[in-house]
Amino acid sequence: MRKPVIIGVGLTPVGEHWRLGLRDLAAEALLNAMEDAGVDKVDSLYVGNMASGSFIEQENLGALIADWAGLGNIPAVKVEAACASGGAAVQEGVKAVMTGLEDVVAVVGVEKMTDVWPSDATRYLAYAADAEWELFHGVSFVALNALIMRRYMKEYGYTEEDLALFAVNAHANGAKNPYAMFKKRIKVESVMKSPYVADPLKLFDASPIADGAAAVIITTEEKAKEFVDNAKMVEVAGMGRAIDTINLANREDLLILKAAKVAAERAYKMAGISVNDIDFFEVHDAFTIMAALSLESIGVAERGKGAMLAKEGQIAVDGNYPIQTLGGLKARGHPVGATGVYQTVEAVWQLRGEAPNQVANAEIGLTQNIGGTGSNITVNILRRV
């Protein structure tokens, strides 16, 4: 297998892009990434997107975006794994390079969410749940996470204030990211004062609906030398992906993201590392509870101790386990199918040493992207070359 290396990254700011449609956002991110990599053509394109059919009545994104970005008659497809679509698209691109089928691959994650009413957006996001046995009953995605959050607090004795610390950390870091949707610090009190969306989950426990696109260019280590200096190269050293029951009620254990555990173990093994070797963690904090469960499921914290890391201040950029170093989903924003690629771009910044909120001497980073209520999860390990 050939060694896959990211040589270029590009992105749009996350936010409400009233003037830009999905194709504009995707093309902008893609062309920025190609420029960063110094390539003028690619062999193929993988698009991470969750719900363009619902949000903007547009499928066939491979053709749409490759055509709009002027990439010619290349193979181009959409990869869908709910909110983990971006992470999964990166993995498909990496696989194509590793197997030798394609030499220079582009991956773009994109979502256009603000062209519809909020209640419709709530509905489309719930399509990632089980339509017959969850959405049928009127459950929203927020509500499903609230069910987990309440159980988590009961089981381990945490308060709503404890979980709010994840949002506070995300905002502190997002304040330094020029591409973040929210560049403003918040306090625990701001989270506590925000209205309940689905008790005990409040508005500020949740990541915002947003538009955005992010892209990476992947090639082999050998080929990378034709385009960029070593300092710009970041290896995709390991990856794992796994599913769990799509219906939350069918889980053996509500408080473990088993798909994350399996995916992380695979990724660590492939990279030949242990969790202790990782310098920072971009986990999927679509909701504060998911940050806590993710840290436990990928082995950073023991069971029930994820929220303790936040209480002890260990998740800050200068802590032992920095997470959401550029704001995470909560502050950077969560354009669902694009999120996994945003995480990848941010990890590349950290490993190149050019992040606006730099983790000192970062050598290895992890990105974890969750689809559904933990039903489809990707974990990628990135390493400085």
């Binding site: 009413w117 909020p118 209640s119 419709d120 709530t122 509905r123 719930a126 017959e132 046995w133 969850e134 959405l135 049928f136 009953h137 009127g138 459950v139 929203s140 927020v142 509500a143 609230a146 069910l147 987990i148 309440r150 159980r151 009961k154 209205p195 309940y196 969306v197 689905a198 008790d199 005990p200 989950l201 219906n247 939350l248 009620a249 069918n250 509500l254």
Partner: protein
């Protein structure tokens, strides 16, 4: 948005949704809801219908204040994970209950209620909800 495609989409689940019938593995005896083609416990493929009693306890709950489109009329409403006395957990709305009284382990029983109405087509969807048992 949210118009029903066809009545058959809802009709095909009437056993589960009106009567809480799930599956029981003939090989290992594992019961589950809804009925699956493959036993999650032993991988057996010989699954028969299994009638649940409809009695259970609340494992967790929330109040839906910002529902998906199509459910705005009913908001706010409580939704719970209910552990049935036979073991499986199901997600459903709670009904006939003061939200303040919902608690971990609260005993509930299944009732059939209207879950959703479609204005455009006049279709009314019924399904299971849970309520505190009438003493």
């Amino acid at each position: 948005m949210g118009r029903p495609m066809q009545v058959s989409r809802y009709w095909r689940h009437f056993k589960e949704k009106y009567r809480l019938i799930g599956g029981k593995c003939k090989n290992c005896g594992h019961v589950h809801f809804p009925k699956r083609p493959v036993c999650p416990e032993c991988g057996g493929k010989d699954i028969e219908d299994f009638q649940f009693s409809g009695k259970g306890k609340v494992v967790s709950w929330t109040i839906v204040r910002n529902p998906p489109s199509g459910y705005e009329y009913y908001k706010p409403y409580p939704i719970a994970l209910v552990e049935l006395e036979e073991g499986p957990v199901v997600l459903a709305q709670l009904t006939d209950v003061d939200p303040e009284e919902i608690d971990f382990g609260m005993e509930v029983e299944m009732v059939t209620r209207k879950v959703r109405e479609f204005e455009e087509d006049g279709i009314i969807l019924y399904g299971y909800k849970f309520r505190p048992p009438i003493k």
